[in-house]
Amino acid sequence: MRQTENRPEPEALLRHAAQEGRGRLKVFLGAAPGVGKTYEMLSDGTQQRTAGVDVVIGVVETHGRQETEFLTRGHEIIPRISIPYQGHTLTEMDIDAILERQPALVLVDELAHTNAPGSRHPKRYQDVEELLDAGIDVYSTINIQHIESLNDVVASFTRVRVRETVPDRILETAEIEVVDIPPDELIERLKAGKVYIPEEASRALNHFFSKSNLSALRELALRRAAQAVDAQMLDYVRAHALAGSFAAGERVLVAVSEQPHALGLIRATKRLADALRAPWTAVHIETRRSRDLSDAERASVAEALALASQLGAVTATIPAADVVSGLATFAREARATQIVVGKSARSWWFEFRHGSVVDRLVRSVSDIAVHVLPAEEGEAATPPVSRARQNRWGDPADYLWSALMVAGVTALGRLLFAILDLENVALLYLVPVMVAASLFGLRAGLFTGALSSLSYNFFFLPPTGTLTVSNPENVITIVVLLGVAVVTSQFAARVRDQADLATSSARQNAALAGFSRELTVTANEEELMQAICAELARLFDARAVLLLPSGDGPQLHAAVPPENRLEQIELAAAQWAIEKNQPAGRGSSTLTASDWLFHPLRTGRGVLGVVGLARDDAGEPVRADQMPMLMSLLDQAAIVLERMQLERDMRGIEQLRERDRLRAALLSSVSHDLRTPLTTILAASAELKRKHTPQLIGVIEAEAQRLNRFVANLLDMARVEAGALRLNIEATDLTDAVASAVHDTRHMLEGHAIQLEVPPALPLVRVDPQLFHHCLINLLDNAGRYADPDTPIVIRGARSTDGVTLAILDEGPGIPPGRESQIFETFARIEGSDRTKGGTGLGLAIVKGFAEAMGIGVFAANRVDPRGASFTLTFPNALLMREPNVEKTR
């Protein structure tokens, strides 16, 4: 996918600043072909070019008309791209070339045009939207009958229906210029052959170009343009909060069913909503019957909802026990003021059994206006597809059981009849009828009722052994048995429906709850993304991937199953979904050749990434009725993912800030600590040149030693900060360790007597001898630096119940109270007079870093008598070693 980012041309920048990034669309609207839209557009374009605007022609159909052709001259024409299709070549507008050319204004004829298969977008208006998004202004043309919401209206009086339509929202933000000529003149032009008409359509068009039709179309076009102006003015009023006098509170609701006239219903509702300037919602009520719908019927529901959303409606699918109550509840919740329903095309038998939806709806929503629209001509002609319901007649076993029950009752009845001479044996038959009706449904119930009647008649009614009924009283018995079967089965069915529905919505709720539970237990982003994919794959029984945007296209971050790989076209679709914040791929309106459906993961901050779903059989990844569930799952996933990313960002910022602080401290420390000894060395050398003084050579040596220690400390600190301490633990004798440390620090500790109080019998400890050596050296160095001159430094080891302690005690100013733990922080140097003592402040941080890596505790405290500081290393029992019996081993 090409980058659609603007090059920073000064002109483009200015244009961007003026309109906040998005290009403007101007549409030349005509009532009919031949009114001169293209001509008008080109003249306008020429004017713009003369005024200095960078104009190019994206695509213009001149249809061989000379005056039009003439106008295209002088314009730069972007060559069309060739697309091979079924043996011949189609040419389409080259959108990538235009994006690369970055003109200020592009002329694009025929907004409603359908692109050749294999193009990036199925429709040209989608190309135009992409150009607008890229900040390019577009001039385009359209005839009134191609506007989605007017399509039906035009078709109703011209009897010509065009398939190529443009959603109203495209025009809602556009400037509209009506290209208008009187009908008589247009007819003249038609006769003069100045109007291009595709040959195959010419017959139908004779009727189309009648004067009355043209007048009506002209009126429509003018009205639509006026409406656009109206809407724009309204937006202005709203934006500037000038007045609150528009029809507040009107809300329109349209019920979408699987009935074929749903599309017409949607368009009609759009017109109504526009007229009322009301927001509108298209809702599909999902009942138990919805699950019996054929795939074609499901598709038609999905198509209707998609159309509605394209026309600007909010869409929803609501599960409910029945259509009327669901619709009524939703209407009240959504505070709808108008409900639009279609006149039912159902049989009188259906309405008899289920009741008329319209009647019940009108009764249940008394305060809401209900519009009942008839099915439109041509559409209702297709009869509803008869559904193959294999469950209708039920399982043959049900009938067998029913028959057995009847037989049993008959046998029992014969027995009782023989013994007791009972009159009311008929009542016994109620039992099998009720059982069959409630367990097996209406048909099995009726079957049992009929069988019971026959058995009763045959075995008990005189004359027994025949099916003749002599007594009219007994006819009532038969009717009652059948009636019981009907009533019982209806009740039982309703109970079953409710239970099923409860189960299904419980399942959906459980899915949602399970989903968020799975997501919240993840520890990091990768895990979370994998969990999202796993859950989506499970819930939709599909393959799932998750991609995040990156510098060079979307990157796969999680996949279930993990071997999922994406082709170039899929990556393009994913990229599209990320860039445009819209679904792409299979089942969407963009890049449909992909097997995958990509949905953006979006939050208030924008698009975080994209989720792709595909089915193993390359079918539609998500059914229309699952869409709402997918949406809420994706919303949840996006929120959790965003939270995790924010947390990570915050941590990153915190770390960076800390690192910056350390770096600044290090720099000041380094410059101080390296320069001081260097200065002395330089000065001493200069002195040496003049006269050879052994004392000064000693100074050079000592300072060089200091530098050396400092470099060692820097290296050590780098190891601690990198968190990459490799430990070489071995049994260590504290006597050895202390002796080595004292030996190595003898120069730094000059002037201090070292008192060793380390009992030789202390247990061996498990430490890394090298790291431990550095700990001790730094502690001794610290003591030597802060202790008062000529005071002793004590190294004292002791055994306690908790382990072993090793303390280094000095006599001096001690540690400022309250800072005992702070002094172990990197570069924390004690304020005040200590500053003059030099030292990097790294030493104690190294002690703490190394000691903790080995499991040794470090504590600082002040001594009272004599006054000074004490640093204590504590070795817990776990670090101590039992002494082996050395002589008995070989």
């Binding site: 260590t732 050895d736 002796a739 080595s740 030789p760």
Partner: protein, 230 residues
Amino acid sequence: MTARNKVLVVDDEQQIRRLLRAALVRADFDVAEAEDARRALTALETEKPDVVLLDLGLPDRDGLELVPLIKQRSQATLLVVSAREATDQKVTALDLGADDYVTKPFDTDELLARVRAALRHRVTAQGGVPSVTVGDVEIDLVRRRIFKAGVEVHLTPKEYGVIEVLARFPGRVITHAQLLKSVWTHEIEHHVEYLRVVIRNIRQKLETDPQQPRLIINELGIGYRLSGGD
């Protein structure tokens, strides 16, 4: 006075070679130089040095590979002089046959002392010295007896074993593994605690102040050395 000992300095840093040459010449050694592994091996043949000071960071080859090669081709005493501080590098070099290890930056006097000690080992190893004296401690390697200030001190077999190994190469670092292998069997090669206990016991018996050992010096994480006994 025999002929002066010759030292071959192998280091790619010219400043270091210059510094070492000055120090060695002052200490009455002959000096040869090599700046990489190839030239070092050639010099080994042509110059026939008594001591090799080897830097591990050579441009053409890792110095550690050179250690066994030098030991195979010459009788020279080999001292590794390197900025590599990691103890495992030191132990590896010593176990490969290097006689000692000095870390950069070094104290020139200490380096010279190590070179002299190493040269003495050659004599010891060749002739077999009957006894070693360090301070007031005398180790009689023939009669296997130890005297402190003229008074015999009784050591256990392991204690004597350890001090005997150290005394055969006074001043030279003996790694933990080498000591453990000589005195115990292979199984406890990695159990340094045995060695620690034995050394502690020896110190109790032989050191004047066991808290500040002068006789047996600990090399952090590497091993022990018997004090040079100058």
